[in-house]
């Protein structure tokens, strides 16, 4: 009896430990793999080529700037749409909505988050893009703004879910105190609850943006994939090509270990570093907030 417990412990304890550490191991392995496959780019493609503005890999034009710009403008547009809507939805669900509405709304928003992005892409190509073209009188609806709108639908559920949890965990005494001091409900939300939940809301925003920048399928279907520099004043309404769509569209047919192959991994490396940065920023805000609350409590 005694020895059998010891045996299972001998196996299970390290297994649990390994699965705990495996996340770190996987991230490191992926990073190593990206470095190994992506870094040869630097030896094979000249720096001036990499920072040029022309992406046409079958003729060895490897300018990354249009792709980087495309990803940034789509993400920026999606953030401009998703952040206000997401935070407002979270505030409504957590603070304003009656209990019955709340119990319906949150699961529905989370179902929205579960819609596969390829389905969103279909809706985008068949309904959204033609509508945008007619409504805004654009040459084509396959544009950065179409991608931004679709991606905001990807980001909003994340933002709502995390921000609502944060608002919900603000102690009830905060609201009671504000209301007792004569604040209106709006003043309570704007001046007390939302600032108190600031770090959670920011984390939600960061995670939402992280999802947007890594999203591929919907973007590839609706942004037109034209590798132009998004530097004109109306670039948000013109076609762009994102980094993720480039990798997805070209990886399938690229010859192993060719220059093009390495450049695609290099783009993956850039994407990885960007989303790593966003995630570090998100956890940093959480960490700062925790230290602050610990200070208040002590």
């Amino acid at each position: 009896m005694k020895s059998s417990i010891k045996w299972t412990e001998l196996i299970i304890t390290p297994l649990v430990r390994i699965s705990g550490y495996s996340a770190i191991i996987f991230v490191l392995l992926i990073f190593y793999f990206l470095l190994r496959e992506g870094l040869p780019t630097i030896g094979q493609v000249s720096f001036t080529n990499l920072i040029s503005t022309r992406w046409y890999p079958i003729e060895n034009y490897f300018g990354l700037l249009p792709l980087l710009g495309g990803s940034l403008i789509v993400t920026l547009g999606a953030a401009l749409i998703a952040v206000p809507i997401g935070i407002c939805t979270a505030v409504y669900i957590a603070e304003v909505a009656p209990r019955s509405a709340r119990e319906v709304l949150k699961p529905i928003v989370e179902v929205l988050g579960g819609i596969p992005s390829v389905v969103l892409g279909f809706l985008g190509i068949l309904l959204l893009a033609p509508y945008i073209r007619r409504f805004l009188d654009l040459p084509t609806g396959l544009s950065a703004i179409a991608g931004s709108i679709l991606l905001s639908a990807v980001a909003i559920p994340t933002i709502v879910s995390v921000a609502e949890d944060a608002l919900d965990s603000v102690p009830r005494s905060y609201r009671d105190a504000a209301l007792a001091l004569g604040a209106t409900q709006w003043q309570t939300i704007w001046r007390v609850t939302l600032p108190a939940a600031r770090s959670g809301v920011l984390t939600g925003v960061m995670l939402g943006i992280g999802r947007v920048i890594g999203e591929t399928m919907a973007v590839m279907m609706v942004t037109g994939n034209a590798a132009v520099m998004p530097i004109k004043w109306n670039s948000l309404f013109l076609p762009v090509r994102t980094m993720t769509a480039t990798i997805a569209a070209e990886m399938g047919e690229v010859a192993n270990n060719s220059t093009h192959y390495h450049v695609l991994f290099f783009i993956g490396l850039v994407l990885f570093i960007i989303s790593l940065g966003i995630n570090i920023a998100a956890s940093a805000t959480m960490f700062i907030q925790r230290k602050r609350s610990e200070r208040i409590l002590s």
Binding site: I18, T53, E59, M221, E253
Partner: protein, 296 residues
Amino acid sequence: MKRAWFITAALILFLLSSCRQGADSTKSGSSNSQTQAIVNKGSDTLVNLALAWAEKYHKLDPNIDISVTGGGSGTGIAALINKTVDIANASRQIKPEELQQAKTNGVNPMEYIVARDAIAIVVNTSNSVNHLTIQQLSDIYSGKINNWKQVGGEDRIIVRLSRETNSGTHVFFLENVIRLGDSKNKTLFSSDTLLLPSSEGITAETRDNPNAIGYDGLGYVTPEVKVVAVGRSDSGPFVMPSADSVNNRQYPIARDLYMYTDGQPTGRILEYINWIQTQEAQNIVTQLGFVPIKSP
């Protein structure tokens, strides 16, 4: 503690090694009895068609295994010259220097036209432009012509649609339309050309957008879009793409697709090449969006 690590590591190693064994045993199990192999390599344009033929033929005669790989027409012909393949696929004719190389290596390439490939130019049904020359198409796609009124249409911006760069159709269009078939011409697609990942994407956007112009393999064209007649020069004649106009070489944006063998083939290779010329095999050509060598 150390012992625990040891045991887990041993377990993982054991699992990994058993996986390895499993993979090996399945491999050795498949090569039984007297299956005969045909090795087929070459053009990426042809690779899907060649795969479809190979699968169908394997069903008709399970003793023949045909392995198909891509890599490009040049790769396929090089492999034929080095005698590592039985059949090379090519989307262009063999070059004189390749033929010379083959002769010195004792290889005598035999040429078979197995299918044809034509590119249709499509626009929105409301577009009043009915015909374009190759030169006009080149100017549109390289960014020199930006408005439909410059080619006789309404005053609208032209939105250029293209397949992704990894598509064989993209490269064929670049070489034969944008660069007018001149290998020294280094003109590129205008950088604001929309690269769509699928034929469906091109059809959907052309159907909805009166500004759009697109191209695609003839077999992928649907009735929802308008096909434009193409002429070699301003004086015409302007020809609509069809199996007939491609087969009698009137339609300008078309090419033959080839298979090459070493010398007069015999046995299983001859049977396979003969089967490809049959109606049954040519029906697959139509299904994959190419033009069959004989009209049904």
